[in-house]
């Protein structure tokens, strides 16, 4: 049995067999919560390979788009460093660094450049949260 299937089965056992047999309210709640946690974990594990692949592709596409959006003029060092981290494949932490740098340096970037780059990053972030919602919601 695959790990995600095992976790889903454990979740079902807790929800349908163990939880209802528990009388005390607090342990009963705990049994139900354990079931919920295992159910979500099962879905997260099942989706992880596809999500990792999609995330890598999205971040690579964002990194490829950034030079055009940022232009050839001087860049605030924090923004340039974050863009470099994205290009180096550092993943979500690099995306966080980029977004933080954009807000911190929005005056220096100017409104058009700030809006263009943040808007592009938000497209990536929307796709990312949509994937997470497949198992979290």
């Amino acid at each position: 049995m695959a790990p995600d299937e095992l976790l889903a089965r454990l979740s079902s056992t807790l929800r349908h067999d163990i939880g209802p047999a528990v009388v005390e309210p607090f342990p009963k709640t705990q049994a139900f919560m354990a079931s919920v946690v295992l159910e979500k974990l099962a879905a997260q594990i099942r989706l992880a390979p596809a999500h990792a692949e999609a995330e890598a592709a999205d971040l690579a596409a964002l990194a490829a788009d950034l030079p055009g959006l940022l232009g050839s003029g001087p860049l605030p060092p924090a923004v340039a460093a974050a863009a470099d981290r994205l290009a180096a494949g550092e993943g979500a932490p690099a995306l966080s660094a980029l977004v933080g740098a954009l807000w911190a340096e929005r005056e220096a970037l100017g409104p058009d450049r700030f809006a263009a780059v943040l808007g592009r990053a938000r497209t990536t972030m929307r796709a990312r949260i949509d994937r997470q919602m497949e198992y979290a919601a």
Binding site: S96, G100, W103, M125, I129
Partner: protein, 351 residues
Amino acid sequence: MTGGTDGEGGGAAAMEERIAAYLRDQLDASDLTLSGVERIAVGWSHETWLFDATFTRDGAVHTEGYCLRRDPGNALLREMSDLGTQFRVLQCLEPTDVPAPRGYFYESDPAILDAPFLVMEKVPGVCPSPWGRDGRRFYEEAAARGELPRSFTDALVTLHTLDWEGAGLGFLGVPEPGTGFALGEVAKWKRLIEATGVEPDPILVDLIGWLEANAPSTDRRALVHGAYRTGNFLCHEDRVSALLDWETEVIGDPMYDVAYVLSDLNREGTELLSNLVERDEFISRYEAGTGIEIDIDACNYYQVLYGMRSAAFWMSASGLYADGRNTDLRLARTAWSIPVVLDRAARDLGY
């Protein structure tokens, strides 16, 4: 309720005796006995015990109800919530019209009950959770009768028209005029996020950036509860008998509370605000009672801020479980609440 702490199973009887011994000393009542001792499963930040104490004084037998809250040191909002501050707030509120339990004793010395605790009045009333079927039915029926929705609004009016300086609540800290309150709240929840040691999600970084760049400027000041909704007050005979959960109170913009009331986060399966009150009725009664015109733009901002606060709560809560500091599985489950609030935050920001 928290896991891994004293007072569960066989520990409950020992705790009961220790509480009784403490009260015998405090009340100078050597014959004091406890009855109806109950550790209730509400709240995520402190243990809560309810009981009645019976003792003789001046030749007469008295029975008084008490509520004891103990800080287990490993629960939600540990970094933000302090029982000593809560006790002081309750003392300040006692002579006012704000419905709140009277605070009797506060002990910071862990030698007494292994952790700091406060003892306050057990106020008559019930506090159904609005998230369960029974609670939703309770508030639906109360809404139909009409009295509780008015009392809910009136209690907020009382809170927001309180002379908080006169009541001695300035010790909570008074924000700078302008954007001081909003930026102070953002900074507070940022500290909680940083305390988790977890790399913030890119959407959370975006959210914080937006909040810092768009903080509303206001000089409105009031005592703000910080979590004003059903489930955080006691109802007795269709009235709000006591506001509870004084853990996020702050001196600041009253729109912070109004935004929480208006938020659809605090209702389920109903258009009634907080599962209880019609929007138009709330707005007109609140504005008439306070003389404050509701600032919808500020409310919209604070609703986005609540998204950040929720993310901070859930990061802290799930971290407590992940670190092994707390064994309550409700905290573990909140790891999957983080994407849910961030999804909503992204929509609030337009994507």
